[in-house]
């Protein structure tokens, strides 16, 4: 056996390689198995927290491009297609992604509600409170679905693939019934304020109910819910409209619900959406303002600019206007965050010159809300909270609902005037001189337009008021410059807006979804 040593050598090789008995039973360390979850309060808090991501304020904010407030500078954006009426069951991708995202939130909520009762806790209020938050978030997701798609499957439990392939569309009225009841029930379990600022409160649930009921035209319920918010005594207007969208004003008394962000950690791109190209905005598809919103701001005297004797001077369009104009829009001659002057006029030679760069504005107008010096030069890294619903919105909803119900009493005037007479706005009060319902409807709608410009509600307002075809199907125009003594209005004639009232009030049910579930019908016209 002279080869013995080599056999030993080979056995040694054999040995170091060894045999791992659990080779095929790898356990991941990068995720949490569901088997060990749902045990502690921490799990309940964690699972509810994740659902807040479906508030979606940042991406939803892009819809302002499909309104008469703003224009999609870059026609290639999803919103551009929708605005041009180039929309079918497959394109643009928003049709599917919004649907999928809202059901993702709903599923997370259903999953939470199906499991949270497994948790044992000493705090009897905790689980009901968290359920209230999650139910509100679920209703919030359904509000979007019902508004955008009409009849949608109402799914309130965890389902499997086979069930998902069979669900049918629930009539939209039943969805609104559900939302109304759900928010009422949730509000009952929710506190007036939360220790974790940003969590859903009683006021938030009620405010969302007011909004939801306005979406479906149930104005009595809307008025009641709005009134309930007003009666909570928690909210009031923030004295400075100018500062309402600054970091300093975060979580102020006017904010009922917002999506919370932190610079560097959980950031949004609110700065990039609007910032002038010259202030280092690398985005080449900013959201630009249009002539309609510019013209909507009243004169300081409370008159509309086209009213005789309003004092409006087209050669000096910014003079003597509602202060909210300068708080809401960057216009020619404004000082930018970097100290330079905004000069979009042709031939200015600045980076903001109309159409010179794909990132410079096509209209000469840019929204100003959420533009903060803290975000200058840190693109896509804004930490500003995005307001979803604020007290002024509720006051105007209250007024609107009462007007629609033809219950026009002093409280309606008070609500509107409170908004108009915020300390740094100070527009003349609407006088209670026996205005008709139509007059009052025009006033409150106008007030919503200018007060809430570029914040998101307008997208829903022009649709629920059924005025979208009137306000959208007009040429895209911008600021009117004085060039060599002549007036010259910026425009984008290449872009043709097309809102077809026979179908565009609803989006199509995504084709992919219908391919996977033959029970889903399509909306008319698609």
């Amino acid at each position: 056996m002279k080869n013995l040593k080599y056999i030993i050598l080979m056995l040694f090789i054999f040995n170091i390689s060894g045999c791992e008995p659990d080779l095929l039973d790898t356990i991941p360390t990068d995720r949490i198995t569901t088997e060990i979850f749902w045990q502690s309060e921490k799990d309940a808090l964690g699972a509810s927290t994740a659902i807040y991501n479906y508030l979606n304020a940042n991406s939803k904010h892009n819809y302002i491009r499909i309104t008469d407030e703003a224009h999609c500078h870059n026609g290639l954006s999803s919103e551009g297609y929708i605005k041009a009426g180039v929309i079918d069951a497959e394109n643009p991708s928003t049709i599917l992604s919004v649907w999928a995202n809202r059901y993702e939130g709903i599923c997370a909520a259903n999953y939470f509600l199906a499991n949270v009762d497994k948790i044992e806790t000493d705090d009897p209020a905790l689980i009901p409170r968290l359920k209230g938050e999650v139910r509100t978030l679920r209703a919030y997701c359904y509000m979007d679905l019902a508004f955008l798609y009409g009849d949608v499957p109402l799914i309130l439990e965890v389902i499997d693939i086979d069930e998902a392939r069979e669900v049918t569309r629930t009539p939209v009225d039943q969805i609104w019934d559900f939302i109304g009841q759900e928010l009422t029930a949730a509000a009952a379990d929710l506190p007036l304020t939360q220790k974790d600022v940003g969590r859903i409160t009683k006021g938030a649930a009620l405010a969302l109910k007011a909004r939801a009921m306005s979406y479906c035209g149930r104005f009595q319920e809307c008025a009641d819910a709005a009134k309930a918010v007003m009666d909570l005594g928690v909210y009031d207007l923030y004295p400075s409209f100018k500062n309402l969208f600054t970091y300093e004003a975060e979580n102020n008394i006017e904010v009922i619900l917002d999506e919370q962000f932190i610079k560097n950690y959980r950031s949004n791109n609110m700065y990039n959406k609007f910032a002038p190209y010259s202030t280092g905005n690398p985005s080449d598809s900013p959201i630009v303002g249009v002539k309609q919103i510019l013209d909507a701001f009243e004169m300081k005297n409370g008159m509309r600019i086209n009213e005789p004797g309003s004092g409006y001077d087209p050669y000096n369009p910014k003079a003597n206007r509602d202060p909210r104009l300068s708080y809401s829009l960057y216009t020619m001659g404004d000082t930018l965050l970097n100290g330079q002057i905004f000069q979009p006029q042709p031939g200015s030679g600045t980076a903001d010159e109309l159409g010179v760069y794909s990132g410079s504005t096509l209209t000469g107008l840019l929204p100003k809300k959420y533009q903060n010096i803290e975000d200058l030069g840190t693109s896509s890294n804004s930490g500003i909270n995005i307001i979803i619903i604020r007290y002024a919105d509720i006051l105007l909803l209250y007024a609107e609902a009462k007007i629609e119900l033809n219950q026009i009493d002093q409280s309606v005037y008070d609500a509107i005037n409170k908004v108009r007479q915020r300390p740094d706005v100070g527009q003349p009060a609407i006088i209670n001189d026996g205005k008709t319902q139509d007059q009052m409807r025009d006033i409150v709608r106008h007030e919503r337009y200018v007060e809430l410009a570029f914040e998101g509600p307008r997208f829903f307002d022009i649709r629920r008021w059924r005025i979208a075809e009137d306000v959208l199907n007009v040429p895209i125009e911008g600021y009117t410059f004085v060039i060599d003594g002549n007036l010259w209005t910026a425009k984008d004639p290449g872009f043709v807006t097309n809102f077809d009232p026979t179908k565009h009030y609803l989006w199509p049910i995504p084709k992919k979804e219908r391919d996977l579930n033959k029970n889903l019908t399509q909306n008319p016209g698609y």
Binding site: I13, S17, L24, G280, K512, L516
Partner: protein, 1121 residues
């Protein structure tokens, strides 16, 4: 007679060569060879007696040689052997004798042991050393090499003394001589391209004449197969195999490129690529899963590895296993084909040193042409006018632009493409030094590789360093042990190539690359590829890979052998992306900022992985009369772990400070994760043949994977193959003169694919954070549905084949036909979104690949010694989706970009879009012909309303093309004549489409790159136009449609190489055994429809914003010492 008096052109070249060899050996291996210079004393002992008067010097020398073992070495031209000499000496030492003989002449002598050197110059110490070394050699051997068939003398045959580096090459008459003698017991190795290598023992002969047989096209070659080797004659499956030198014929950047076009059914899409990042896509017999497919399994010396970074010079053999009979033994990883690679190991005794290197210049292979200035300006006017605006340029502006030379004030639309602006020629060089040798008991092969490539854009470079040491111990007749070590470091740096090439086509129009004062210019869309290169992101990547393998085998009894192999594969990469900050001011007004980016950011990733492979094989080989049996039983364990960490920070002091901790700590974020997987397998193979006439082979593999759970954890993959060698039947005898060998093969088998993400059966929650009141809060959410039933994809393949050799092996033919069906495709089939979770992979869908392959080889040597060979391979593969489990079809991408579909009856990822029917006419508009969007008018593209429902929508999209090539072919031609060799390689594919996206199909609408022939666009005066009406900032004419489907079939002259091997008379002067120099070019000529679009037909469809393929001009050297 021992006297060497033949005329030589130089002095002692061979000896000098050996010395050099030794010096190198000393230098490299640091082994002392000083003992070779030990003093010999023969001359101090032996005495001679001479008594000669007026005899020619030649006779005197003869007399000395006859009395002693001394012999003379000299050059006849220098030494006058006729000179008359008188000498009388009795019993004198040789020194004294020689002193007398050469006194008064100009002849110098030197005695070195038994050797007497004569020269007409003083002999120095170096000569002494040379001569001492050459004492190892004893005899002179000469002979003639002829072709066995024709009897013609063969020129340029390489003759080597086995186990040494001594070698020569035959001359024009086929003669050779090993001039300073060879050990009479040595063996000579005769080799010549296209001929079988012959080993002939000298057996004391002085003259060794040989006849070489032309290479029998691999008939008795041994082919590497799964877990073993097999004689080609007993193969029953479809494999293509290559020797290393076939792969390195033309300089390549990586091993996949080397494989391109060589094997029928193996498609390599060489996507050229930036230094260090080259992306050659390898597909064996089509794509076996939905999507673009997974790469074949690559096994290097028994261990799974990537082919990408392997040094092609290290490859000894490469085998592509194509049918299931050959691949099934790799079971669950084999569905995409298997490529087996072995690396070079030392074969001979003694030491051999080789150098292979080249230096190349790269230039862009396909450069698009830009529309002429005037046409482009007028086109821009149309885009604006058609969008309802004023013309962009006045007539005066156009004339100014055309007439001026002032390109500062009036910049050109696309100046970036001019030579030297962004693109410039770049060098690439590669060096492999190998040292191989040893003894019977211990042999090693050391390969050292250095590779360096600059990019054709700035800030772009890749460098690779690699050492491979393959060591074999033969510890006894029964036991072999080997230990291999391979370590490589590769790094690359680059700017963001996708940004650079994006800006070469988009967003950079009308820019001045750099103003006279060095200020960067940007285009009207604020883009500049030069800024991207010089100021933009800088990426840095470094990878280390070490593979250590040890293997032992023991012969238990005759025919029965056990072997075990253990291998560690350590791989780590380090990746850094540095986003610099910059501000670019307006050249004309330094107050204005035209482009800026800040803050600077750093993103850094560190990833480590570790994989161990343990293979155990028990093999049994036996012959019983005409029965031949080979059996294999094996086990394999693979265990893989990896760890990943990445970190980000912003706000660094400046662009040069790039260590992570120097960034602003308040901006830091980091992520990371661990993962592991395991594979445990048992497999067997049984091969049997009867008289090499009837062959049968059965294999089976039982694979277990950690990626699956429950009953799906293990799966079974069988195969079976039969073959019939008709030519070995008695009735074939009469046909043997024409078809000397013919074999029919048939096989069936199953393989699997387990390319599914880890833990997909695992129901789990992942973090999804939110923030409350300024602090981040951890949230948990289930994001993906778990699928516990997940299992393997199974590919069943049927193959029939024919191998034939005609006219005494002059022509070889291999033909195969296959049907390959993949079922249970692991696919993330969309699930209804209402379920609210991401879809898990499911086993659904069925796909088929059908095709045939033919390989033809012909080689010949003419009577005048011109050798040539032609290899041709042609294959067709048809890919078709058969079933989508009642779902689908599935669409990917979007109408505005790249839009594909998986639909039953079509190849996977077929292009989807509208059919076009010319352009809309006024009559169409009047008739209410449906349009894609309401703004479309006369002159816009007319899309076909397939379902005639009066509107154009998703229902009207049809399959309009496919990126999956049908035909692929390669032609290699080789020729050798008198030291020259020529290599030519042509390659191509047929029936394949490409689709540009972005600028190339926007015709100026977004101010992008525009091709000259797109000038034929619709205007009221040009209604017969090929291209639609341009309209600024609209995409209505550039959505996916047949208008943009291009025929991407191509034929490429991929490589042309001319080499010259210096005759030994010259190389010996340089102390080199073999010296070959070559000139080579790659990507020399391409015939394809897409070339005029400036697109490389091998590139993927899309925005063409990728680093382009290059064409190389190379000079290279192969040296053997």
């Amino acid at each position: 007679m021992k006297k060497k008096s033949e005329s030589r052109a130089s002095k002692y070249p061979l000896q000098k060569k050996i010395l050099m060899e030794l010096k190198i050996a000393v230098f490299i291996i640091l082994v002392s060879v000083t003992n070779l210079f030990a003093t010999h004393t023969y001359s101090q002992v032996v005495k001679v007696t001479l008594d000669m008067e007026n005899k020619p010097l030649e006779q005197v020398m003869d007399e000395i040689e006859s009395q002693s073992e001394f012999y003379f070495i000299f050059n006849q031209k220098q030494i006058d052997v006729e000179r008359l000499v008188t000498i009388r000496k009795e019993e004198k030492l040789i020194d004294e004798v020689l002193n007398d003989v050469f006194k008064g002449t100009d002849i110098h002598y030197m005695v070195l042991d038994r050797k007497i050197l004569l020269d007409n110059e003083p002999l120095d110490e170096e000569m002494k050393a040379i001569s001492m070394a050459s004492d190892l050699l004893q005899e002179v051997i000469r002979g003639t090499v002829t072709d066995a068939e024709t009897g013609e003398a063969m020129v340029g045959v390489n003759i080597q003394v086995k186990g040494t580096t001594i070698g020569v090459i035959t001359d024009i008459a086929g003669k050779y001589s090993l001039q300073s003698g060879v050990d009479p017991n040595a063996t000579l190795v005769f080799s010549f391209i296209g001929y079988q290598t012959l080993e002939v023992p000298v057996s004391g002969r002085m003259i060794v004449d040989v006849q070489l047989q032309s290479e029998v096209l691999g008939l008795e070659e041994v082919v590497v197969i799964g877990y073993g080797t097999q004689k080609r004659s007993s193969l029953t499956s479809a494999v293509s195999d290559f020797k290393g030198d076939e792969l390195t014929r033309s300089p390549v950047s990586n091993a996949p490129q080397a494989l391109q076009g060589l094997a029928a059914g193996v498609i390599v899409m060489d996507r050229g690529g930036a230094p260090g990042k080259s992306e050659a896509i390898v597909r064996v017999r089509g794509v076996t899963t939905l999507g673009s497919g997974d790469p074949p399994l690559v096994i290097v010396d028994g261990v799974e590895q990537s082919m990408q970074d392997l040094n092609p010079d290290d490859i000894e053999s490469l085998t592509v296993l194509k049918d299931a009979a050959s691949t099934a033994i790799y079971g669950s990883r084999a569905a995409n084909g298997v490529i087996l690679i072995t690396t070079k190991r030392a074969k001979s005794d003694g030491i051999s040193v080789n150098y292979d290197g080249y230096f190349a210049m790269q230039k862009i292979a396909f450069k698009p042409e830009f529309m002429d200035l005037e046409s482009y300006m007028r086109l821009q006017n149309w885009t604006h006018v058609n969008a309802g605006r004023d013309p962009r340029f006045t007539e005066e502006q156009i004339q100014t632009w055309l007439s001026t030379d002032d390109r500062i004030t009036y910049p050109l639309p696309m100046p970036w493409w001019e030579d030297g602006v962004v693109l410039s020629n770049a060098p690439q060089h590669n060096h492999t030094l190998s040292l191989s040798g040893g003894s019977d008991e211990f042999r090693t092969q050391l390969n050292i590789n250095y590779y360096n490539q600059d990019g054709i854009i700035g800030n772009s470079n890749s460098e690779k360093k690699e050492i491979r040491l393959n060591t074999d111990y033969k510890v006894s007749d029964r036991i072999d042990v080997s230990a291999d070590l391979n370590y490589r470091i590769k790094d690359w740096t680059s700017p963001s190539e996708t940004s650079v090439f994006w800006d070469m086509y988009h967003d950079s129009n009308w820019g001045v690359p750099k103003y006279p004062d060095g200020t960067y210019g940007v285009g009207t869309e604020a883009g500049s590829p030069l800024v991207d290169v010089e100021l933009g992101d800088l990426y840095f990547y470094k990878t280390n890979q070490g593979i250590i393998t040890t293997k032992g085998s023991i012969k238990i009894i005759e025919g029965l052998k056990f072997s075990t192999q253990y291998s560690l594969n350590l791989y780590d990469y380090y990746y850094k992306r540095h986003r610099k900050e910059y501000v670019i001011y307006d050249y004309f007004n330094k107050e204005n900022i035209v482009k800026q980016r800040r803050p600077n950011r750093l993103y850094e990733v560190r990833n480590k992985s570790f994989e161990s492979t343990w293979n155990n094989l028990l093999t049994y080989d036996a012959n019983f009369g005409k029965h031949e049996l080979h059996a294999l039983l094996g086990h394999s364990d693979i265990s893989h772990q990896s760890w990943n960490l990445d970190a980000r920070r912003r706000n660094f002091y400046n662009n040069d400070i790039t260590s992570i901790s120097e960034g602003d700590a308040s901006t830091q974020t980091n992520t990371g994760g661990d993962s592991e997987w395991g594979l445990r397998s048992f497999f067997t193979r049984l091969s049997y043949n009867f008289g090499l006439k009837y062959l049968l082979e059965v294999t089976a593999r039982y694979d277990g994977s950690s990626r699956f759970t429950g009953k799906n954890k293990y799966s079974f993959f069988p195969s079976m193959a039969v073959a019939w060698v008709i030519s070995n039947e008695p009735f074939w005898e009469s046909l043997k003169n024409t078809v000397n060998n013919i074999k029919l093969r048939a096989s069936w088998g199953q393989t699997g694919n387990q390319a599914v993400s880890l833990y997909s059966y695992f129901e789990s929650l992942s973090t999804d954070n939110y923030s409350f009141g300024g602090s981040t809060v951890v949230g948990y959410r289930q994001s993906t549905l778990a699928n516990k039933d997940i299992s393997w994809e199974t590919t069943t393949q049927f193959n029939i084949g024919l191998d034939a050799k005609l006219w005494k092996d002059k022509i070889g033919v291999i033909f195969d036909y296959y049907v390959k069906t993949t079922e249970g495709i692991l696919l993330t089939i969309p699930i209804p979104s209402v379920i609210g979770l991401n879809a898990p992979p499911q086993n659904a869908g069925k796909l088929q690949n059908k095709g045939w392959e033919i390989e033809l080889n012909y080689n010949n040597t003419t009577p005048s010694n011109l050798y040539y060979s032609i290899g041709l391979n042609l294959a067709d593969n048809r890919n078709e989706v058969l079933d989508l489990a009642g779902t689908g079809p599935y669409r990917y991408g979007s109408m505005n970009a790249f839009f594909t579909i998986d639909q039953i009856g079509y190849p996977t990822r077929s292009y989807l879009g509208y059919e076009t029917d010319g352009l809309l006419t006024a009559a169409d508009i009047d008739a209410g012909y449906p349009t894609h969007d309401p703004g479309m008018v006369e002159g816009d593209t007319k899309y076909v309303d397939q379902n005639n429902d009066g509107k154009l929508d998703a229902e009207d999209y049809i399959v309009i093309g496919s990126e999956m090539p049908h035909y692929s072919f390669g032609i290699t031609g080789r020729s050798a004549y008198k030291g020259f060799d020529l290599y030519m390689f042509i390659q191509g594919v047929g029936e394949v489409n490409a689709m540009p996206v972005g600028a190339l199909r926007e015709i100026g609408n977004w101010d992008g790159f525009t091709l000259p022939f797109q000038n034929d666009y619709w205007t009221p005066d040009n209604k017969d136009a090929k291209w639609p009406r341009p309209c600024d900032q609209t995409v209505r004419n550039s959505v996916s449609s047949t208008l943009w489907v291009l025929d991407a079939s191509y034929i490429k002259l991929k490589a042309l190489q001319l080499g010259y091997t210096f005759p030994s008379s010259i190389s010996n002067k340089l102390h080199i055994q073999k010296l070959r120099i070559y000139l080579s070019g790659t990507n020399l000529l391409t015939l394809s429809e897409v070339v005029k679009w400036g697109i490389d037909p091998e590139f993927p469809s899309g925005r063409v914003n990728y680093y382009p393929q290059v064409s190389m001009r190379t000079i290279g050297l192969n040296i053997t010492w």
